[in-house]
């Protein structure tokens, strides 16, 4: 793969992963406001 092509693919992959991660963060922020603290504590990893 040519360098130019590689960097384009790399940029697209980073952009896609960033969008998905931001969506995950946004979902978490919304769900935290609407969720039970009992479940939040019950599912805590120890």
């Amino acid at each position: 793969m040519k360098d130019r092509t590689f960097y384009r693919v790399l940029a697209a992959v980073v952009a896609l992963c960033t969008v998905l991660t931001l969506a995950h963060v946004a979902y978490g922020a919304w769900a935290y406001q609407n969720s039970s603290i009992v479940q939040f504590i019950a599912k805590e990893p120890w």
């Binding site: 793969m1 769900a31 039970s36 504590i41 019950a42 599912k43």
Partner: protein, 328 residues
């Protein structure tokens, strides 16, 4: 060889994002859910389990000597008190006075629970329930005492509310079952929520950050917690506290009798565990009354009849049978 390196670089980028998201899921997102359906919406109680006039409903049935007729008061309440006011309807109201429609979550159906407009049972939970009683949409609200904002809203609307204590309940603190700490003092808990104590190792636990979890403003437990904190303000919380061991608060019966999660445990407070015996004996230090609340200008003639019955031996027997502590 170059292609292999390029592919490896792409995979490494994907792996970094995947690892971050997986970690976030483990520590945070995967723990978000409601107590009854596992969905992320705020379903604080499965109302369908407490519908009056359904033989399979988990309600307290007593041999009531009073039956209401005529203008039936519309009852509403906090999530934790759904079993109580649904039991009142079960024992005193005529068949057919409740119409449950279920429903999906929306801005109009915040808890995913719908009752027909003419149903004698409604479910708005505390924040919306206090507004509904002030606005005259319901006749009796069952819940903990009001927050300052809720009192202020009633004053602004020129409404006087009457609070009738009908039972008692313990306010409890809880942690994950795997947390080795079994009890705290009241001052230690205030230190935690004020932000002055941030690690479990200072409380006899492991070297792990403390995540003090709070509830939404205006909820019954949040109002009770603000009273418990007194003059001490809630401190700011580090975002890294999310990775720590959490502590939360609730009312005992809601936690132990309704949600029934075996993955959390209640903490002893000042050396006293919130068992039913310790609450009834008065040894457990944080016991609050809960109320039936109505507008002073509500002239529904069934309200005093209902309240007199609730405070009678029959009514208090029903309170005890739901899992709460009688007021007398």
């Amino acid at each position: 060889m170059k292609l292999v390196k390029q592919l490896a670089a792409l995979l490494a980028v994907v792996a970094v994002f995947a690892l971050f998201n997986f970690s976030m899921y483990r520590v945070f997102t995967g723990r978000l859910g409601n107590n009854f359906s596992g969905a992320s919406q705020l379903k604080s109680v499965e109302v369908a389990n407490y519908l009056p006039f359904q033989p399979e409903s988990d309600l307290a049935r007593v041999d009531a000597s009073v039956k209401l007729t005529g203008d039936l008061p519309v009852l509403d309440g906090a999530a934790a008190l759904v079993p109580v006011y649904a039991s009142v309807i079960e024992n005193l109201y005529p068949q057919g006075s409740v119409t449950y429609e279920g429903g999906t979550f929306s801005s109009d159906n915040y808890y995913g629970e719908n009752f027909a407009p003419d149903s004698a049972m409604q479910y708005n939970n505390t924040v919306r329930g206090y507004k509904a009683i002030v606005d005259g949409d319901t006749d009796l609200f069952f819940g903990a005492g009001p927050s300052e904002d809720q009192k202020k809203y009633a004053q602004e609307q020129g409404v006087e509310l009457v609070y009738v204590p009908i039972g008692r309940e313990a306010f409890v603190f809880f942690v994950n079952q795997a947390n080795p700490v079994d009890g705290l003092t009241a001052d230690q808990i205030r230190d935690i929520y004020a932000g002055d104590c941030t690690n479990w190792k200072d409380l006899g636990g492991p070297n792990r950050a403390i995540n003090p979890v709070a509830r939404i403003a205006g909820s019954g437990s949040q109002t009770r917690m603000e009273k418990f904190m007194g003059d001490r303000p809630f401190g700011p919380k580090s975002p890294f506290a999310l990775t720590g061991g959490s502590i939360g608060y609730s009312f005992r019966f809601y936690l132990e009798g309704m949600v029934q999660s075996s993955s959390v445990k209640m903490l002893a407070l000042d050396g006293v565990y919130p068992s039913l015996e310790n609450i009834q004996s008065g040894d457990y230090p944080l016991v609050s009354e809960f109320y039936a609340v109505y507008r002073a200008d509500n002239d529904n003639e069934n309200i005093p009849i209902l309240l007199d019955w609730l405070l009678s031996p029959e009514g208090q027997e029903m309170i005890a049978a739901t899992g709460y502590i009688p007021v007398s």
